[in-house]
Assembly symmetry: C2
């Protein structure tokens, strides 16, 4: 699965320890398209080592705990390249906000507007973060090859494009509901006043 290949991908650029992968890669560089927690990273590294896709050397440090530094093998590189060009499969859609929205038909307009506004705010925060990261790119933070730098920039642009589209759509939703409010009479709130239909068990 993808976490294996994510780790192989980072190791293809440079040798890294589990700690490096967690902090520098997943929490920092890749956080707009993949995340992983520490336990997952360490266990996956073990698995990749068993499969001979990475090698391991222990680096003693003078005044810090030992580091276990992993390096990709030729098998690992082959596995990575095969995966990159393998058949694309879109992950199953799973969007908690659309779920909420779908079921908010019974809520009053003010409540729905508030739910939308809070969702918008979360996406705006994400957008600010993405833009801040793009703005640091030109200024020497990308010391890798030009191509590596280019595709990284592309992933940020992709995340930005989708986030912007989401925010614009949320604004449309707010407008639609506001318009609906203006022309419709104040509504009854169905949620509190449902007729109890169920006997207990």
């Amino acid at each position: 699965m993808s976490l294996d290949h994510a780790i192989l991908g980072f190791l293809n650029v440079e040798d890294l320890s589990g700690y490096d992968l967690k902090t520098r890669c997943f929490d920092d560089r890749a956080r707009h398209f993949w995340t992983a927690d520490q336990a997952q990273v360490y266990r996956t590294l073990e698995r990749l080592h068993d499969k001979r896709l990475v090698t391991l050397r222990t680096v003693r440090q003078s005044r810090k705990p030992d580091r276990k530094v992993y390096a990709i093998t030729d098998n690992g590189r082959r596995e990575l390249a095969d995966w990159i060009v393998s058949k694309p499969h879109l992950p199953p859609a799973r969007d908690p906000f659309l779920l909420r929205l779908e079921f908010s038909g019974d809520l009053n307009d003010e409540t729905v507007l508030d739910v939308i506004a809070r969702e918008r705010s979360a996406h705006q925060d994400r957008l600010d973060d993405l833009r801040a990261r793009v703005s640091t790119l030109g200024s020497g933070s990308c010391e890798a090859t030009e191509r590596t730098c280019l595709v990284h920039r592309m992933t940020l642009d992709g995340a930005i494009a989708r986030t912007r589209a989401t925010i614009d759509w949320l604004d449309d939703c707010s407008e639609t509901i506001s318009a609906h409010m203006a022309q419709a009479p104040p509504q009854r709130t169905l949620f509190e006043s449902r007729t109890p239909k169920g006997d207990t068990r």
Copy 2:
């Protein structure tokens, strides 16, 4: 988890069996924002029943297997309403395509263009499906309340907006790489170029 609330949401509209939920709800109506497999649906229904959020009645059918029809309880409705207005949390980003793109710095341009084109095609299929579903909405397929119909339309619009943004961005990526190809000398290929043969991972 969200699946619990998805099921409560559907049951808030009408009583349903596990089979109904799987086929009519998750595979059909909700496939643009949530999916679930059969095992998951049945096990979740059991859990909701244990928690007294739904009730169960068995309906004998003359020439078909019995149906276990579930109905939401007042507790279930309360749980659902609380969840809808609860603090939004954006799910951690997890996009296999961005992962591939990030690590494709070593591939030759033609290969990357092909990977992008195949990804675009998958999104285009999704977009076609979404548009087809929107176009059936006006014509009486939405027999529910006006509000229920409105928010459902909004969820489709949201999925469309994001898919369109993704396709536009993929086109930008293709253009950028084509431009890069035109001006740069033929590149060394660190990876062997691999024939893009489907293989699911």
